[in-house]
Amino acid sequence: MLGRMEGPYDVMVVGGGPAGLAAAIGARDAGARRVLVIDREAEAGGILLQCIHSGFGLHYFKQELTGPEYAERFVTEAIDHEIDIVPNSYVSGIGLDSDGTKRVRILSDHYGLRTMTCRSVVLAMGCRERTRGAIRIPGTRPSGVLTAGLAQKFTNMMGYLPGKKVAILGSGDIGLIMARRLVLEGCEVVGVFELMPYSNGLTRNVVQCLDDFGIPLHLSTTVTEIMGADRLSGIKVAPVGSGFVPDMSKERRIDCDTLLLSIGLIPENEMSQSLGIQLDVTTRGPIVSSTLETSLPGVFACGNVLHVHDLVDFVTGEALRAGRHAGEYALGIRRAQDNIKLVPGDNVRYCLPHSLSTGHEHQIFMRCKEPMKPCEIIIGNIMRKKLSFVVPAEMIMFKIKPDALDRFQGDTLRIDIRPLQK
């Protein structure tokens, strides 16, 4: 599956997961002739390749696919679009010429160290998992403590089981999926522990991954100690009170040889930072305009490097748009600068993009801070949207039509989520 690497390119995409592949296809659809995708793994497809469960594609393909099936469709489509995909390669730096040409330094196992030029770049590096160090769990440092996604790769691709008796901290989707997965592989899953008073995963995953197998979900509970010399021998857990402080008087020991962490994802923006691209402190992804362009002209971002999504279908939609804009940019098509800032208000953790322009339709992505039901999303004085519920685990998306924005006179549009009286 090794593609050519022959510049100059119109668009270069960093990352060959679902975001990168869709961005490349979007760029080609916009008319870009030469598009390159660089991926650090041995094959394109990204994390989808280890997500062997189904549930992908309901929005985009209108059918339920497994991760590898979804990935294979996009790899095939990218090849059909005559996109060069080069695996086993890293982008180690991007430089800018005065005329806006980007010089991308690529370290590739096949092509060696090369510098390729292009007109625009799409950042699609995805995200990585938070580790034990991020939440500083006290105790010893035995083997058997690992992130849920790493356990997923071991189990589903490499053929290693991470352990036999497993506890899971964090109720993110990967943790829930892995609970079921390990039961099917013959492991005992002793419980899922969640700091928050609600699950951080999708409801359907709590139902079909935990409830179906009788795995207990302990809300408002956290791991207070990790025990064991060489191998994990057990953990201590305790309920948390206000301020998430564990109530140590109720601490109890749980025997297990493995602790999986499903405690959040961080967009991988080290390269974005080295380029001086401005990041949003909440999403930890780049600040982007309505064309998903970062603060560096001609550099676009999409997928989990921009903000962590819960469904790949939404990544695909966003990445196709980013790719189209990157393709247009490469062809010299420029849109007028955005004239309206979009800012989060009451119970809004973040909203994207960071700015809008009149005369265009806009796709808005946002998340709430706290669960609320029923409620209303209030977009300045131009739009209101009633929802039966909102939860932080589920991204909220909607479109703002051009005519709605035309009526808006200000330069800052604020989004609030407020409770509705029943």
């Binding site: 062997i52 497994t66 991760g67 990935a71 013959g186 359907r204 139902v207 079909q208 179906d212 589920e394």
Partner: protein
């Protein structure tokens, strides 16, 4: 006397809370669903709960040691673990194409086949 049963729809990420009212085996009413799939799911869940199963099988001669597979039709909910145990018995050799049928009529269930969910070349 009618009884009520609560389900959470797993048809999509919304996860509608469903309430099914029944008298014996007769379904009288389904509430809480935002679309048709929810009503169908509650009916199915009440009469004959089933689940799709995804797992992996050993593969030789490929880049990875495990090949992801799935069933083409759902199996009874209480036989999900049995299905996984049965699937894990087989070992395949690369190359495998996406959609290749690896087991027919899993657990004797007519029409429940196990298929590869990705292509793996021989290396």
């Amino acid at each position: 006397m009618s009884d009520k049963k609560n389900f959470t729809c797993i048809g999509c990420p919304i996860g509608c809370p469903l309430q099914l009212t029944h008298e014996g085996l007769d379904v009288l009413e389904i509430e809480g669903n935002q679309c048709n799939r929810g009503a169908k799911y509650a009916q199915q869940e009440f009469r004959d709960p089933r689940r799709f199963v995804s797992t992996t099988v050993a593969i030789e001669g490929a880049r990875h040691r495990r090949l992801p597979v799935k069933v083409t039709a759902p199996v009874p909910k209480d036989r999900v673990v049995d299905a996984a145990v049965e699937i894990h018995r087989i070992k395949v050799t690369a190359p495998v194409r996406i959609g290749d049928v690896l087991i027919r009529d899993l657990l004797g269930e007519k029409g429940v086949d196990v298929v590869a969910t990705r292509t793996m070349e021989r290396v």
